[in-house]
Symmetry: D3
Subunit: 334 residues, 6 copies
């Protein structure tokens, strides 16, 4: 099995714990982007992965290549483009203070990709699952057009499609998101979307009060409209502080909504990429034909572990996740 991702990768510049950007004499250097984050986690679970993207033709772009390769991701379809690499600054919060992200991503090499930049058939010929997010959709018309051609190819070649809605108000309006989403949903097999996506983007609504009943109702509706979508999931997060969250995964398949145990995550080190770690957990479980209960528990544990690791990517292995899942948090592993 091989999973491909198509999306942007940015340079991430983050502060040390307890430091505001205003006070920072140095930034920690990482790289991140939703689709790459998913692939890196999958690679640690033993899945073959391939990234399709474009980065700047300079030392920053080459550092991203180095980063992807280090995690054994196929980079044959990562081009060194003529534009810059986007950046995001992360002011790491703690306790009562929220983390803060500042984007400086305009006009990046990835934003400037368009139909014809690469041979879609070649890029996807050895691929079993194709993953992308709403952020890729939001970045440009050219990207949307390119993406639709890739989705067509997937449909024709039985490549499973995973779509993470991930709406970002700073990138596009709800109307634009709706229009694009309606176009891509008929191609999707695995969907990451929650109540807000259902209501704000898909314009659904219902009078159910209970959160999970409401979610079930929306997921039923989505399944009816798009019978191709066989897996829908989202997570719920109780935020006590920037350092303490409770996490639960909602996973829907074959008309049933499964809820994982709630995991209490304290001493959070880095919350960014928690959603991508969840997606990777879901995709891993699905392509390994795990039962639905496993799917949502595994994904929740995977996502929870991500919160303890600096950087966007989840670097734990299969055995680490299953150990947490079956034995709980424990003693020092000696």
């Amino acid at each position: 099995m091989k999973v491909a991702g198509f999306g942007e990768i940015m340079l991430r510049l983050s502060t040390d714990v307890g430091k505001m950007i205003l006070q920072s004499d140095s930034f920690n250097v990482n790289y991140g982007g939703g689709e790459a984050n998913v692939l890196i986690s999958l690679s640690h679970f033993g899945i073959d992965t391939k990234m399709i993207t474009s980065v700047s033709n300079d030392d920053i772009g080459k550092s991203i290549l180095r980063y992807l390769r280090s995690y054994d991701i196929d980079t044959n379809f990562v081009t060194l483009g003529n534009h810059r690499t986007g950046i995001y600054y992360l002011q790491v919060g703690s306790g009562i203070r929220s983390s803060k992200v500042i984007y400086d991503r305009d006009n990046s090499a990835f934003c400037n990709m368009k139909v014809g930049d690469f041979d879609i058939a070649k890029a996807l010929e050895d691929v079993d699952v194709f993953h992308f997010s709403g952020i890729t959709l939001a970045l440009s018309n050219d990207l949307r057009e390119l993406l639709m051609q890739m989705l067509e190819y997937c449909k024709e070649h039985n490549i499973m499609v995973s779509y993470d809605s991930n709406y970002r108000a700073k990138l596009w309006s709800l109307e634009e998101a709706r229009e694009a989403t309606l176009k891509v949903l008929p191609y999707v097999d695995i969907l990451s979307a929650g109540i807000l996506d259902a209501e704000n983007i898909l314009l659904m609504n219902c009078e159910l009060e209970d959160k999970h009943e409401k979610l079930k109702y929306y997921y039923d509706e989505i399944s009816k409209t798009y019978p191709n979508i066989k897996h829908i999931f989202s997570s719920h997060r109780d935020i006590e502080s920037s350092s303490v969250n409770k996490l639960q995964c909602n996973y829907y398949t074959n008309g049933i909504l499964y809820l994982s145990n709630k995991i209490n995550i304290d001493s959070i080190v880095d919350r960014v990429g928690g959603g991508d770690a969840l997606s990777a957990g879901i995709i891993y479980s699905i392509i390994n034909n795990k039962d639905p209960k496993y799917v949502c528990e595994f994904a929740t544990c995977a996502s929870a572990l991500k919160h303890s690791i600096l950087g966007d990517a989840n670097l734990v292995e299969l055995s680490d996740v299953e150990k947490l899942m079956y034995e709980g948090v424990g003693k020092i592993a000696r």
Copy 2:
């Protein structure tokens, strides 16, 4: 509106998390002092500020000048004196282990200030609020004399006076503190003082058991004796550990005691300066004529946010405090 502060600024040398001084190969460099801490926070809220102090005429003193200027504080009345800059070492605690402060502040440039060192009228001519603390009072007779002349000037020119009692047993006895306090209270408009100050310094007592009733009683007494004091406040802290505190602000005005919501602060990064951040929140709210409920909630949120920031000073902006106040601790701000 312009707020002036008169007090000492020290070099602060602190350990990394989890390290004792005994183990430390390096110290983090910051600068701090109650009055300066208040000004820096006010400056981030958009208030004009001015520091009146003296530091050593060397690179340490100049670094303090640089530090104050960087936060847009008027330093025209910061002199480079002939004595050293005081130091405090901070061994940062965590969890069950308390933080520890070692002072090495004797014979500093500030301690050696006296009447005649600067022109009080010039220093205060553009000032609306004058802030000082009990520490300044405690340091020397010369300083006390100088301060009394400044308070006289404030009274004559309708400059609002803010006084933070802040008793430190290592600096003077309760008797000395009482004598000095009784002299300054007739000049004060805004007073930071709690139950211990009332009982130990002002020799009040009452048989009420409830903490808040007792506080109300003392504040009533203080108001009666000193009708000039229109605002009194203090904070209450439930200390679960060095890393987890609950914080509540008590704010008294017009005969009514307002209590803020209790805020749970976990993963505390740096507690030093939490009280100064509270004072800045109170002063900001008062000079902006906020209603009493706002005053105490704003100050509590401001102080709580300080706990997440390295260094003595609160670097958050108005919008950060109000966001916490109205929306609670939340998602990553993107």
Copy 3:
């Protein structure tokens, strides 16, 4: 009073918080080993200490000498051997992710020690308490033989013997541990052993359900069989996460099992060495003839404080432990 320890000291290479070994550009350098950890803590409590061990004859071995001396430990019986210094890598966990230890300790200078390497009588002539652990027993036949001669000497010269069972499955089988343990118990005065040790190594069992009743039962049995063992203790740990534990000490003497208060330890910095800090607390209290309640409370507080300090060793002083014991976790110590 002088306490000697006989055991291995390793170079410890640890990651920064939030970093996996896979991501680490640097390792923090510390040194550790159960017996040395106990001695360092005792030295901070004002007890004379002496280490008996062997390290590599190179800059790593000399760094260990420097480390021991810095804490005022007598190193006259630390030899620079012809083999390497063992290493352990510590990937520091946080929150939901457990810490992980990788040992690379084979064929170390200590493992290669044997009878005749030093003059036992000279090494122990000024010693009042002799401390060693099951790890030393596990490392080689030569070490076991050497140890038995040292225990004989202790018996003949009324040197109190403290033994920390500390079973490690990676070093030897339960059978091997049983055989060695049965040989050393007749020499022991102070024993650190818990329910698992009683059941798995000593093959005890009982039908009591309650954890403390069961422990009491086992400790009674051990006392009956080995009347020489006058103090037995263990700790119990409720693990909420890698960052939050609750700790309680069980201390048995004269047929009575004393339980300390449970201490909630949050924001754990470094859990390694927590057990050694407990042992040091017990030994300190016993040689100072403290009453049993003090013994277990003091040891628990000592161990709890260790969790807030980087490195294997507990660096707090007597007054720090007693302050936590009598006043609880508190304000900044100024």
Copy 4:
């Protein structure tokens, strides 16, 4: 005397010594831009300074404000614009390996400035010297137009104009530079330009072989054409390696070319900003009416000292430069 600068300030992200960008886990954070660099150095020499620029309205832009204010630079004409802050990455060279700069500066807040953004008369009303560089000229037509209006104002109000040619091939062609340069030279009093500027931009040439004779010839020509230009200077650098350079300043006034002593600079820490430190040295000397020999020696020493300081800016004081100038490099200053 007050000196104003008009130019861009970028975030500078640099590697540690010996590290390539490809290997870097963190970047050192500084801020830099030719005009700001000149002002910061002048401020350390005791000159009043004012920056006119625009930065992003986010924490990066505010950090630049903090940076400028910390060095006592008037920031009343620094606006928080609607565009990003430009970035430059600096891979620090050493020995045989050259430093490398990667620019990511397109579409910055400064690039987007235009006539009408601020009131030129107000910005320059208290200014005695106006400094700008060819980089500002190169960035956009709007900036060129705005600059011409500022130069007109300077001429009308007897504000001395200092222009640093500083041609950068990546920003514009020689033809564009020529056209712009010819427009600004009639306004200039102090010119930084070397042989390459004379030949490539001003299309001068001569058959003299000796470097200094040739320079003298060009400077004579420039003076004849632009009698307003009363000071011309440049530096010459013998590059032994990235770590060892020899530096000499050429200063021309009243028809005479003065050459400074050659200074050998070894163990270079940071060469960026060396030219700006030279300009600051020249401007300082001129506005203090120093004799020509002092002018070029002082500027050379100032520039040389800059090479020993991390970051773009020269932070030494007047007395540091004069000490090097009169006493040479010396013992530890105690």
Copy 5:
């Protein structure tokens, strides 16, 4: 073209500049080994590479995998073995103080490799050049046997063989080295060996005084005895201090000895791996059919640049080396 390397990779733990191991609170983490160093440099020159080795099956071994992959090296024949990863400690010298290496490499996964561990034909089927060193030969009889089978395969399949003599007295005696060397030389095409190798290992001698004449004589002799060896090279280093060296390459082919220019390398950052960078430069040039003058100049420049980079590996690209070769050390590359 694809180059394979067969050798050990160790964890490298190094001190910061100016720190002795005795003072070090942290070690910088890198990975190194002669053959891997050569491959990483070749990979940066655009050559396909493959590593054949074994590392420990733990996070240290996996970090080495990550490291190799990050530089695009084929790791399909890197196994995770049942033994440890070797370590070397590097105390970085500076100026008058030499760097110091302490090895702790016994009983590593690589040392334990033997015939049958992998399928030689599969490992070498796509390989054009095979590189190994005397260190690999020295480590064990099993490795020597395995290596001889690999060399046989190379001979049969026209794979070019590159051998770096690299005698280390701590690993084996001159007699052992001689015996092994005589066995491998008949298979070698490219040989790295100097005067000491010729005299001490090959027992050659001559009465020529001039260093280069002597070298030419030995190289002539070697060529005569082993006509298969078509390229021989070595470097000469004038050591002024740990921070300043002069480097020259001696390259012999077709009976002619070519000498490169002497390059002065000051401010040396990290000398380890300089020889491997030279080998990579030679191999790159040979497989690209460069003329002999280019071969030795390119290799010298490559090796010189390595001295400016932290870690064992040379990370510069082709264009960086050629720039130094054709333009010399220069200005900041903007």
Copy 6:
């Protein structure tokens, strides 16, 4: 043989290379003082050492105890006094920029020592050599009085006395120094003093032009006046820059002046303590009865090596110095 030192030890706070104090976010922590520096170096040469001093009774003082003990220095006569520990700030220079020291040492625990603080007989009973410096003399009258009693004891008990003149103009006038020096010289066996000391303190003069002849003349005079002084030495330093010095030692005994080879020290890491390393080299050689040529070469090499090590103290061993002395600076020690 045991060497005792009597002097002050300060906390040393230093900047990173290339950073001014003004820019520093952290300070490196070391401890230093001339006499302690000499003892630490001697301890590394295998000599027994004892420090007599007083430090603050807090974590800074205890860190100094830890520091001394780590290097195996007898601390039984280091008291924890009632006053502060002095501090010195070191702004590390490089290249053209000199290092800069700021003292903040007034009113330290050591300065407050006086006769009666300890039992001189006990302190010196096991001592063979007593070392002190002019700085100790300069600090207070009480110290001078105490010192004279110690010198009396030395004379009576045949303890060799080593005195390092080390005049510091900031501490006392030349007149005060002269008076004190004349009192101590009759007790001295080993004297560190140079031309400036002879001329400015001892008021000698001569018309010889040659530096070495002049020194010989002065040393002859000193020997004649004080026949007890059997060894006199000083060093000469050619300062090319803060990073490059040439060092030579002048050693006089039995009427002959020996000059060491000049050693070129480049890439200087830390020059502070270079003189103390020289003294330690001299003392080591004398008490080991080395011949005069060895004495001055050994001391020069020891001092040169110190320049490559961070901190005040010379941490090299005997074999390191002799290796430099006999083999010169060399290859990597593997």
